[in-house]
Symmetry: C2
Subunit: 263 residues, 2 copies
Amino acid sequence: MDLLLLLLLSLALSAVAVAHHEHLLPRPLILDPLPETLLSDRFDDDPFLVCNAWRFAGEANNLSPWKTIPPECAAFVADYATGRAYAVDLEMVAREAGAYARDVGLGGDGMDAWVFDVDETLISNLPYYAEHGFGLEVFNVHEFDKWVDEASAPAIPSSLKLYKEILDLGIKIVLLTGRSEGQRHVTIYNLNNAGYENWEKLILRGEHDHGKTATTYKSEKRSELEIEGYRILGNSGDQWSDLQGFPTASRSFKLPNPMYYIP
Amino acid sequence: MDLLLLLLLSLALSAVAVAHHEHLLPRPLILDPLPETLLSDRFDDDPFLVCNAWRFAGEANNLSPWKTIPPECAAFVADYATGRAYAVDLEMVAREAGAYARDVGLGGDGMDAWVFDVDETLISNLPYYAEHGFGLEVFNVHEFDKWVDEASAPAIPSSLKLYKEILDLGIKIVLLTGRSEGQRHVTIYNLNNAGYENWEKLILRGEHDHGKTATTYKSEKRSELEIEGYRILGNSGDQWSDLQGFPTASRSFKLPNPMYYIP
């Protein structure tokens, strides 16, 4: 009878977990642009204001999935990404994350963890995107994989500083990336070259993870971490799909990324 | 035995619900500023870039709770709130919400619902905040209540347009506000004056809702709506506490608000 009860309870709990999971993955996965995509058809304003509003809408997770940046915002995004604005935005988020990490209070049992995404979170693919219109071209996985093999993506300086602060606090670092298991070695090589080391785990997409959205894949991996006993105090990522789903970290930090969207 | 099972199952489910609930309310509720609040101590950049980065960090929910805007950003926020930038940001979010509402597909049974917050979502208290430093002064509930009693807050034009579109689609509108039940009449009067009518429900804080965070109070009310059979397709609010917690809407839309933060 105890066994039956246990079975029923765990069935009920799974049903709730699945319901929650689906509930927390509500965004449409259509990447086809909506009929009215041309911002210039919609607004009769200063292009800076309109593109800044588009960027705000993306960062606040208000936009439907998008495949490329709006053509009218090509110069805006290039200026943003290569100028101080992007760097200052990145620094602001890293400082907020650092202040929280210093303040949060640790369990002291070695199970406090912080999850970092890799691309556009720890290392920057700006040299690649500079050659591909800063998001104006539709993403080409073959071209991008060639770039990944070069293992030459530089560190994002404010993220490297945060990474070291978090390590020094005694928080375990888990790297959770949408890159494939087959890219493990170049990824480690690139991360080390950029100054990152001493992480606890580096999780890449295995053979059963392909075809899943990033939200699903990353949620499953965070769930496994919690089952292993980790408390995920913080999660830093440049995509909402790094941060949403279930379980969430105690606090999530959204780094800016105006160049691409991953569901 | 069946009853015992049912009891145990429902206990287990409640425990899960509570755990989820707490899990989804993870932000610290300290409103005391962190030690390093002065942005000018942190950045040696163009104030526009720094204040825009602070605004982005707020809109992406990266900031710790804050009581007032950073003093160095007083002019920035005043310019933003009174100029076209705020209006364009609001229009962008309303258009995304409208495109989603037209596309989402309705149940057709009258139980499709959209939740709107009221202040800074449907109507604007800018005339009040213009007299109080656009968020530079610590919020004074007595002063604000006097303003509420005037019932003269104007509509946010893009929100009024969205509201009418959503009504026309046959979606039921639920207004969910942090205002008190005692302010029901002035709120209805103000909303009607601003052009809003034909909502399904107007939910205000009742006597048992005081002292709860907005996230808790609004989550509880969304939960009650779902128990009543409503499907919450969309939720529009200017605070993350309008949108977070459990249950969430199928899609949430964060309107900009650089003037105040509600936990």
